[in-house]
């Protein structure tokens, strides 16, 4: 069973070499002349104003945190989904369905709270 993961490892090494080769080719074949215009920050022509290291809206962090929480929820759904039919055939379908319904209802409460708090509004 573990042996079925060997190709993944080979593929990772292969893909890394492939992408690395492109970086290398580009550095090797390109002309080496130094154009000073290429070294400055691109801002559509005019001299750049201020730096790019600005602080960001907290909304982006909120999206990232909510993503983690809902992602974990979805992760719990995966094994449930593939087993659901087996459970139905064994006569435990309703039990397992209610089990997941309770899990999801608790999370939907959180989702409604997020919505009511306007954390999903992008303004």
């Amino acid at each position: 069973m573990i042996s079925s993961y060997v190709p993944i490892l080979v593929l990772f090494v292969f893909a890394g070499l492939f992408a690395g080769a492109f970086l290398g080719i580009s550095a090797l074949l390109g002309p080496k002349k130094k154009s000073h215009a290429g070294d400055s920050i691109y801002e559509c022509g005019p001299a750049p104003v201020g730096g790019a290291r600005e602080r960001f809206s907290v909304k982006f962090f909120l999206v990232a945190i909510l993503f983690i929480l809902f992602d974990i929820e979805v992760v719990f759904l995966f094994p449930w989904a593939i087993l659901f039919r087996q459970f139905v055939n064994e006569g435990m379908g309703l039990f397992v369905f209610v089990e997941m319904a309770v899990f999801l209802v608790i999370l939907v409460l959180g989702y409604i709270f997020v919505w009511r708090k306007r954390a999903l509004d992008w303004r």
């Binding site: 069973m1 573990i2 993961y5 490892l9 290291r53 600005e54 602080r55 960001f56 907290v58 909304k59 982006f60 962090f61 909120l62 990232a64 945190i65 909510l66 993503f67 983690i68 929480l69 992602d71 974990i72 929820e73 992760v75 719990f76 995966f78 094994p79 449930w80 593939i82 087993l83 459970f87 397992v96 089990e99 997941m100 309770v102 899990f103 999801l104 608790i106 999370l107 409460l109 959180g110 989702y111 709270f113 997020v114 708090k117 306007r118 954390a119």
Partner: protein, 164 residues
Amino acid sequence: MSETIFFYIFAVISVGMVLLMIFQTNPIVSALYLVFGFFGVAGLYVLLSAPFVAVLQVLVYAGAIMVLFLFVLMLLNLRKEDLVYDRLNWRKIGVGGVAILFLGFLAHHFTRIQIQPFFDLPENFGTPEGVGRLLFTTYLIPFELVSILLLVAIIGAVVLGKRQ
């Protein structure tokens, strides 16, 4: 035999990357080393016949949690001069010494555990089906409690995030 070789490869990757993470001054670089470290750990999980945990390790830790870390680190934009360097003092040396002693104690005991090298794993061990079957029958209550944990986390995130 080849499993042992792979074990050492992944072990070196995970430990090496985590050490690199600790000895970095740039927090973004160290976060990235941690991501690579997670891949070593995922490889170890596969060797332990737990592919489901391995893929979740990548999906949740590398693909979600570390993204948030990088997000925060990149956008807070700590400049070199903002970073406060810790001075070494006697208290820290003392704490470190105790930690090393404790680690040695653990290592000493681990080496004395009798390892039973070969035993048959139950069918479906570590696969999504096997994990799910346990999760939704035997470990029903912890599973339901997880939802409450997630609910608390969601509320906490929004309350903190939306505070003006």
